[in-house]
């Protein structure tokens, strides 16, 4: 499984860090009023002095005293994150009076679900027949991970290929148990591509265009992935 297209886009996260901005205590209401005017589907999720969270079904926006974070999920996550990050960057640079950012990061997680670990390992081109030096022939390989991290003075990239087990467990409320049961459990095996591109140097606001930088980040990720 070398091609990213074979994996479904699960999460896309853009994160922008800056030195602590006390302006957030004055400007939070104004920032979110502007954000909602531009994207009326945003719904309030959390508001505290140091952190506010607004959401849609496929998007979560978080602003705190040192960080802006835009998380998208689903197949349109990247486009939605790009559009909303660009919008919020304009608003917060103005209202929080930010001139320099200490770090920008894009993390994209893609995955494909399988019903068994051998299927997932095989799809990830991982050998399942090799013997464990520790446990011998009796042990089954049930997971795999390969990580690489490269950095320059300007930027860095962490690429990770994993085959992992995910378990969902939901406890059903007492009054619903006669119909549904006491617990809902689901187990699945997933091939995961986890790519995190970030800047190492500082970024001047007057140089930073989020949408352009995200395109740059995606290109870097695709190139790195082809080598993993």
């Amino acid at each position: 499984m070398k091609s990213l297209e074979e994996l479904a886009l699960e999460f896309c996260v853009f994160e922008l860090r800056y030195n602590p901005s006390p302006m957030i205590w004055d400007a939070a209401g104004s920032i979110w009023t502007s954000a909602i005017a531009a994207n009326p589907s945003l719904a309030f999720a959390l508001a505290q002095p140091n952190q506010q969270v607004f959401e849609t079904d496929s998007l979560q926006l978080t602003l705190d005293i040192t960080t802006l974070r835009v998380i998208g999920r689903g197949e349109n996550a990247l486009a939605e994150v790009s559009r909303n990050a660009s919008l919020l960057l304009k608003i917060i640079s103005e209202k929080l009076k930010l001139q320099t950012f200490t770090r920008a990061g894009l993390r994209i997680i893609r995955s494909k679900v399988f019903e068994s670990s051998p299927q997932a390992l095989k799809a990830a081109a991982v050998s399942i027949d090799e013997e464990s030096p520790a446990f011998g022939k009796d042990a089954r390989k049930v997971g795999f991970a390969k990580n690489t991290r490269f950095e320059t003075d300007e930027s860095g990239l962490l690429a990770s290929l994993r085959v992992e087990e995910r378990e969902f467990s939901f406890t059903i409320p007492w009054e619903s148990r006669p119909r549904i049961g006491a617990k809902l459990n689901r187990k699945e095996w997933v091939v995961v591509s986890d790519l995190d591109y970030y800047t190492v140097g500082k970024i001047d606001r007057e140089v930073f265009d989020v949408e352009t930088w995200l395109r740059q980040a995606v290109k870097k990720m695709e190139r790195e992935w082809s080598a993993i």
Binding site: E10, F11, V13, E15, R17, N19, P20, A45, N50, V53, Q60, T62, T66, T67, R69, I71, T100, T102, R103, G105, L106, R107, I109, R149, E151, D153, E154, S155, L158, R162, E164, R166, F168, S169, F170, T171, V192, D194, D196, Y198, T199, V200, G201, K202, I203, D204, R205, E206, V207, F208, D209, E211, T212, W213, R215, Q216, K219, K220, R223
Partner: protein, 197 residues
Amino acid sequence: MPNGTVIPIDRNQHPSFTGMPGSFDSSPDHRISISVDGNTVLQPENAKVLTPAELYPDLDDRDGPVIQALRLLTDCLEQITLAGQIDPGVDFTSYDERMMRASDSLRKLYALRDIGDGFGASINALMWAIRNKDTEALSGRQTSTMLEVIKQLRNKPMLHFDSAMTRLDQLEDSELNIEPPFVELLTDLDPGEPDEL
């Protein structure tokens, strides 16, 4: 650890966002954990500030207006630099050709003015500065001021409108007229006498 305490965290241990799946919890709304451990990560003061070339090293013109603008600003800078090396009194045709090429780049840059208010205002001023010179050549001081403004724009294309005003002042200080001719007519107009138009 109290909030606001700055502790040095190895950046390599600090991905863009923590709490990713692999272990979904069963909280009612399934919100992803977004905590960054409550700590503030500060870069050392000597961390370098990235230039546009360092921030966008792998992109080409198809990758959006900012990248197109950076290329066109480089073209414009090159043409005005070459024009500045020609004595217009000796070879006006070559000088004029360079300036026309610079004007062509500026026209294309004007089409990219959505990049930002500061960018649009600076490009507009540069365009009119050249156009208002008509057949007169730029002085040495005017050439170097224009080159300086273009270089600054290339280094900070998303510049704030207020920063652009400083650049525009620089152009005017070198006796360049950066406004279209009809602006003077409009600003001279007495509000009580519309017939003057």
